[in-house]
Amino acid sequence: MSKFLKKSTLTIGGAMLVIGVAQSAAAQQYNLGREALPEEVAAWDIDVRPDGKGLPVGSGDVYTGEEIWIDKCASCHGDFAEGSGRWPVLAGGIDTLDSERPVKTIGSYWPYLSTVYDYVNRAMPFGNAQSLTDDEVYALTAYILYSNDIVGGEFTLTNDNFLDVQMPNAGNFYPDDRVEVEMPLFSVQACMSDCKPSVEITMLAAVVDVTPEAKTDAVVEEAAAEPVAVEEVAVVEVAALDMALVAAGEGAFRKCKSCHQVGDSARNRTGPILNNIVGNPAGGVEGFRYSSPMTEAADAGLLWTSEELTAFLTDPRGYMRGTKMTFRGVRKEEDIAAIIEYLKSFEAQ
């Protein structure tokens, strides 16, 4: 650090400021940027530390947390935080960390409760971040503690009792010690010749066979031209579908799958089941609680024609103000066409 000066005063915007003698890093000033306003810092500085710094005043109980959980979290994390599909498991896993298949949950692994509050508050629900109130975050944190058997069902979490909660695995983390433990082991003269008497193959990746097939334009064309695949699907389908487009749509639909299911075993999740959607009345999936604008549009006779779906998928919230679909929209027109064709392949049989 070459630019350190023993500077006692400097000019900012014409005003003379006296810098405290405690300042160690008085360096060159460029007088760039401006002072942050307190309300600007408050808007962005939402982080919470293990010592409680940053925790807002608030409270929430397990029961309230469960209601919010079922509405906003359970579709991915399961009703009891047990996880769904490949979405994170948040409860259970106690005493598995040294086993062959450790289950790292909030209860079994996370060292600090502040991390739960901070993360839920800043990043959840997935796709609608920073939409929860402070009390809702307290309530959800309480419910997660309850689902991990760390607190009872009558528990209310507040900013006052927050630091009393002890996470079971808090003591089992230690700082990186690779420099002490591994560097000496691995910083040794390397053998260059006759290093071992024989070599055997002990494991082959081909046996596991989980490598994805390379996606290239050439391969896609090849797949679309496979007559066998077309016939197999064509037997099931009623309408004449563009199978290449359906295949492309299956890929494009992956971004929808975090909230929507299709097929025989589909369930309503964050979003409704999307079987029989194209050409049918909007808002018609049984058991799904639609937003009021969607219900109103359905009552007014909205049909999900390809045109309407295209408009909706291009800009969901622009198309329908107040829709529960918090997705930003599909950018590529060809992806929308492919998704619609894919959805057509899930019509009544």
Partner: protein, 422 residues
């Protein structure tokens, strides 16, 4: 074979299907048939007709014959493609610089599309002046250029229990190496005036995951950059446009993209990505935390499962990359017999601190089976360990920081496979 373009490298499966046909094509390429090589004797369209003009592609793209060179994801790895990862096609690359469009992506809330005019960088916490910068302000600070690798801590993480994915793109492709232009983070912190008790920095992104990591002040004041260019052009959206943090030699998750805030504090924050994730669970059930540095590592990129030997025996080029979060790579060793005998590889290209290095080993292949490995030595004297050496220290559940030696088995047809050996 349904290949459209002669001379295009076949995909692995196409290769396995049609190894014989490839052999035939090779013969035509290297020795003139009775009527001569049609590549020479026939008039090609590009010999005769005019090509596109200078107004055809204002932003240039690779040749259509290179369409197979692309990032690739592994759908079963994650619940959805938004909080997910894809992989750099290392097997198709050479030199040390990763082209911007091929740099692997790892997002936790999708690609944020940030309007630079509406982007601000705030410094708050234990500073003399809490400051806000616009992008224009940022670009008025003195800037520097550095080439650094960025490796995800989970690179090779799927291989802890054994050989699993067939291709260095998948086993080692969570890495890229680009030249950054940016402002030393130190200058921004000095502008705000870090108080003496300010020992830690929290960096925060503007994306929907609100990504945050704690960084010790010593590192922040050392070599970190607040970067806005990669390889000379603006950061790509998927790499944090308009501005990202560069934390040389340290795990990629700390290189906060869409950087919007830097908070100075007296303690670490223990955020989700430094407690639940990016901590290394060891065999005894305890976990290392703050494992920031990336250990020395190397991999042979060709031949490899996606880049088989297609030319038959004779003169053969082995090439690969090596890097270390603790310095440079003065030396890489290569073995073709599974580690019985090693040969010092030839390093080529710039040797820069905390950057990728390129190595080559040329030899006359006799067509017999090969067990290929590379072994990096970094400037601290650390030698890349075998996977078994790592497992002896860390167990099988660590997920992160797998820098063990990779083995490719090459059969007499030139087909390569990911294996483990004794």
């Amino acid at each position: 074979m349904t290949e459209q373009f002669k001379g295009m490298k076949p995909s692995r499966r196409a290769f396995l299907r049609g190894a014989a046909a490839v052999g035939g094509a090779t013969a035509m390429g290297t020795s003139a048939a009775a009527q001569g090589d049609p590549a020479i004797t026939e008039l090609k369209p590009w010999n005769q007709f005019l090509g596109e003009g200078v107004d055809a592609s204002p932003y240039g793209m690779p040749s259509k014959f290179e369409a197979h060179v692309r990032r690739q994801d592994v759908p079963w790895l994650t619940a959805d493609p938004i909080s997910s990862i894809n992989f750099t096609p290392l097997h198709e690359m050479d030199g040390i610089i990763t082209p911007n469009g091929l740099c692997f992506e790892r997002h936790h809330g999708g690609v944020a599309e940030v309007d630079p005019a509406e982007h601000r960088i705030m410094i708050n916490g234990l500073v003399d002046r809490e400051l806000v910068f616009t992008m224009e302000d940022l670009m008025r600070f003195p800037r520097e250029n550095h080439v650094y690798f960025l490796e995800c801590a989970a690179n090779s993480g799927m291989e802890w229990r054994g050989a699993q994915l067939n291709g260095c793109q998948y086993t080692h492709g969570m890495i890229h190496n680009v030249m950054y232009t940016g402002v030393p983070l130190r200058l921004l912190l000095e502008e705000a005036g870090v108080k003496t008790e300010g020992k830690w920095l929290l960096a925060e992104g503007a994306d929907a995951s609100g990504m945050t990591r704690s960084i010790p002040m010593e590192k922040a004041l050392d070599d970190c950059l607040v970067a806005f260019k990669m390889n000379g052009e603006a950061l790509r959206p998927e790499q944090g446009y308009p501005v990202r943090l560069v934390v040389p030699g340290w795990e990629g998750n700390m290189w906060i993209k869409w950087l919007r805030r830097l908070e100075v504090g007296d303690k670490p924050w223990h955020q989700r990505e430094e407690t639940s994730k990016y901590t290394d669970l060891l065999g005894d059930g305890r976990a290392r935390r703050f494992t920031w540095e990336m250990d020395a590592k190397s991999v042979i990129t060709s031949p490899s499962p996606q880049a088989p030997i297609t030319h038959g025996k004779g003169q053969t080029v082995i090439t690969g990359v090596a890097w270390s979060g603790r310095g440079t790579i003065p030396r890489v060793d290569v073995t073709i017999d599974g580690g019985v005998n090693w040969h010092e590889a030839r390093m080529s290209g710039p040797s820069l601190d905390k950057s990728m290095h390129r190595f080559y080993y040329e030899f006359d292949w006799d067509g017999s089976e090969l067990l290929l490995q590379s072994r990096a030595h970094d400037s601290t004297g650390y030698v890349q360990p075998t996977k078994d050496q790592l497992r002896a220290v860390r167990g099988l559940n660590s997920i992160y920081h797998n820098n063990g030696i990779q083995t490719w088995f090459v059969n007499s047809d030139g087909v390569a496979e990911n294996v483990e050996i004794s």
